[in-house]
Amino acid sequence: MSLPTKLTDFSLAEARDAVQAKKVSSKELTTAFVKAVADARPLNAFVTETPEKALEMAVASDVRIAHGEARPLEGLPLAIKDLFCTKGVKTTAGSKILGNFIPPYESTVSQNLWDAGAVMLGKTNMDEFAMGSSNETSHFGPVFNPWRARNSNANLVPGGSSGGSAAAVAGNLCLAATGTDTGGSIRQPAAVTGTVGIKPTYGRCSRFGIVAFASSLDQAGPMTRTVRDAALLLKHMASVDPKDSTSVDIPVPDYEATLEDGVKGLRVGIPKEYRIDNMPPEIEQLWQKGIEWLKAQGAEIVDVSLPHTKYALPTYYIVAPAEASSNLARYDGVRYGHRASGPKDIVDLYERSRAEGFGKEVQRRILIGTYVLSSGYYDAYYSRAQKLRTLILRDFTEAYKKCDVLLTPATPGPAFGVGEKTADPVEMYLNDVFTVTVNLAGLPGIAVPAGLTANGLPLGLQLIGKAFDEATLFKAARAIEIAAGFTAKPTEWWRAA
């Protein structure tokens, strides 16, 4: 295996092997990424850069490597979505209301990564409280997609809400990044930035220390340049956690070990309901290609039906805001975070702190959530949405009697222009049409780069697996990755900017 000439072009697995073999020091590697992060400020992918911390961690890693005490991710620089609380490092959730919040504790997922030896480059930009599909709701400004359409200088969105992480991975600003996915927030940005992103089964990764958006849907996952990297990173993010009652005590397998096992005999379901109205032909063709690739490698293609798919988006936009309206009640200006100045009484303090601290999209979802839970509307909205959730899960259970994984498009289209969809929230919400079902059912889903549009923008395919069967997803995603041979990279236009 020949290594890339530039350190920042290394995949996570390549870097691991090189560091463990002492071909490259963590300090060299980290220094290269620290510089890449600084050079890429026009992308606005990071809210907080932590170069000193990164180098300090890298030096410590090199000492461990020298002593033969290297851990699985020793010395590998990562970017962390700013939704993960990091002890002593500002954690904003992309919001003004947490603009100066420095947690005195570490999230379990990030702690797992540091315990595995990883190095922190900084905290990545994101939609405010993970509410958005374009990274445009961040209080710290939009993130620009490293990709631009052929012969165009127009800035595109990187997707969201993990837009900063996706951009950092696509732009080679880190070896890999963490994301979180409530309705597609890992998979949609991964798809539109030509990267790999997996939302694991609900309960696979601990939610402890991750700023909550919708507790029953939120799940952390890796964002990487290759399927192998995703398999490697998830292994070290996932754990059962006594501090999260919804984390699940099932051993985390060595996903990398079975990665190349192939898809021979794998039954791949094609859900007919994902063929939506007005689906762009490019998406349709890509999906067809994916089917052919898997078939060519020995998979069996099965037509399946997920009849309640059309209710997924409305169900999601009841359940998620309902939980969010309650989860975000703690941001009241009383104990931490933004507080309005000179309040005349407690109600004034609440109203102005929250009006000033939350952006428009967050306020919209708090209002929707408050409405659907309110007395007289609960049965019409929240309780029906819960029933639909059960039906949606049942659709999958039925489908999995006939197949092992499902193959669908990841997004209804490629990256769109900054500002293009901000006027109409519903149009923005439609970006998650292929991804939200997975969150509602608690299942794992992975987005893998599969091709480029005619004007050179990346598109992804999604594979959906059975609960806690991420290993099969990685195998199938690897098969697509091999067949797609996706090697395109964005031009580093931001260096000239």
């Binding site: 919708a214 999260d244 009652s245 919804t246 009640a329 609960y378």
Partner: protein
């Protein structure tokens, strides 16, 4: 069981009945909070017992405290109630500075404990069954402090997240006495179980009292049909923190409601506050002003699923509860009244049982405690635990009386000595020569001396035999109280030739 006497209140338009239901918040005895590991000690300095979870920090998640669940189940079993093997935690959403999460985690639709019953012990010896509607677990809020500064309020989160049980009765109480008796019996059960210390002045037990009035006969119609239309509109009186206040609040509120209705008004469903200084209830907020709490299942917590075998294990380990103890003591010879007085407080029952264990006769020990020792404690304002005389010492005194070693009179003096000076009662009796004189020869000598010294009295007694008691008194006096009164009587009768 005697027939329940229903207290009617006289009004201008006829007789009225009171109907009362209670919601009691009982703090679970636990070293740590319901969903965090923070400590729960009473009186700690402000905000010294607060975890990141209790403070509602971003990304923090609740984790159920198994000990607290066990105490709730134990309490449910003590209330002879249905234990629900699956229960659900819900969020009750509202904004208040002492509620850091912006919601209280409680159990709304699916509580851990369902219907049960407790028996009230009334002063006339009767018992009245009162239904328990449910028991659920919830977090306490913190405390807002408004009186420390003219322009700031402070928040103490030490209580935030402390585990509470909310125990809801059915509307089965019909007088202020029954309401107070409910609280008393519930507290006794909780203390026997060890699931709540019942300290109302520290806020570990607080009662909300629901009071309504209806015309005489309405309650029976309600019980027969289950239809609430036969009852009046209720008002909820919040946070009444003593048995006495519960009784006062009910009396005041019932009379207030009757007056309103008889003056042509209607009762609005509302929450009221009891002002213990003025002895009256005042409106806090009406139903229209009530919060919309937007209850929904807490997605951070899975449904709480219990194992029947685990519940059975708790059931097998329950201590003897007041009703069972009362039955046992009655069988051991105590009157129903004495037994219920002794079992009403775990401490008095334990004390009594310790005396029995030291060999005192049940009935004698009960009489001694109820007539002598508890009276002295009351007078001194002491709790049983703080009393100066041990159960062993009191048992020794009672045993010496039973063995005729000392007289009843000396026993009381002896109790005073042990109370103020301490010491072993038997050693004191020995050292101070307090032993009862049962030697008839010695008594005869004293009797002879008294007769010889009072020839005129001897003549009077012959005419009026009832005057013999004067001689008894003289003999006792001359013997320093140590003569056995029975022996004195017998010898006097013989010497004075008195009829039997």
């Amino acid at each position: 069981m005697t027939e329940r006497t229903v207290k009617l209140l006289k009004g201008q338009t006829g007789d009225w009945e009171i109907v009362i239901g209670m919601e009691v918040h009982a703090q679970i005895l636990s070293n740590s909070k319901l969903f965090s590991g923070a400590a729960t000690a009473f009186g700690a300095s402000p905000n010294s017992q607060v975890s990141f979870i209790d403070a509602g920090m971003p990304g923090m998640l609740p984790v159920i405290n198994k000990w607290c669940v066990e105490q709730a189940v134990r309490t449910g079993l003590g209330l002879k109630a249905q234990i629900n093997l699956t229960s659900v935690f819900d969020r009750k959403n509202y904004f208040y500075p002492d509620l850091p999460q912006g919601y209280q985690i409680s159990q709304y639709k699916s509580p851990i404990v369902g219907e049960g019953e407790i028996l009230l012990d009334m002063n006339d010896g009767s018992t009245i069954p009162v239904g328990i509607e449910r028991l659920h677990m919830e977090q306490d809020a913190g405390k807002s402090v408004h009186d420390q500064s003219p322009d700031s309020s402070f928040v103490d989160l030490n209580r935030s997240g402390v585990a509470l049980m909310e125990i809801v009765s059915k509307p089965h109480m019909r007088s202020s006495e029954e309401a107070a008796a409910f609280l008393k019996k519930l507290r006794a059960i909780l203390r026997y179980l060890g699931t709540c210390d019942g300290n109302m002045d520290e806020g570990s037990m607080r009662a909300d009292v629901n009071v309504s009035v209806c015309k005489a006969g309405g309650y029976d119609k309600f019980r027969a049909t289950g239809d609430f239309k036969h009852l009046g509109t209720r008002c909820e009186i919040k946070n009444v923190n003593s048995m006495r206040f519960v009784a006062q609040a009910v009396e005041y509120e019932a009379r207030r409601q009757i007056d309103v209705i008889e003056d042509g008004g209607t009762i609005r469903q509302e929450t009221r506050l009891f002002d213990s200084k003025a002895g009256e209830t005042r409106s806090m907020r009406s139903k229209e002003d009530a919060h919309d709490y937007r209850y929904f299942p807490d997605p951070d917590l899975l449904p709480l699923v219990l194992d029947q075998a685990w519940v059975d294990g708790i059931k097998a380990s329950l201590p003897e509860l007041p009703d069972e103890k009362k039955t046992r003591l009655t069988k051991a010879g105590l009157s129903a009244y004495d037994a219920s007085v002794l079992v009403a407080e775990k401490e008095s029952a334990d004390y009594f049982e310790a005396m029995m264990a030291s060999g005192a006769d049940a009935k004698a020990a009960a009489n001694w405690l109820n007539n002598e020792y508890f009276g002295r404690l009351n007078k001194a304002g002491l709790a049983i635990a703080d009393g100066p005389v041990s159960a062993g010492a009191n048992a020794a005194i009672v045993k010496m009386v039973a063995a005729n070693t000392i007289s009843g009179k000396i026993a009381k003096d002896l109790l005073d000595i042990v109370w103020s000076e301490g010491g072993d009662p038997e050693a004191i009796v020995e050292a101070r020569g307090l032993k009862q004189v049962t030697d008839t020869g010695a008594i005869e000598k004293v009797v002879d001396d008294v007769i010889a010294a009072n020839p005129d009295k001897v003549e009077e007694v012959k005419a009026k035999p009832k005057l013999a008691s004067w001689f008894v008194g003289q003999v006792m006096k001359a013997s320093g109280g140590k003569a056995n009164p029975g022996a004195v009587n017998a010898i006097l009768k013989q010497k004075l030739n008195l009829p039997d």
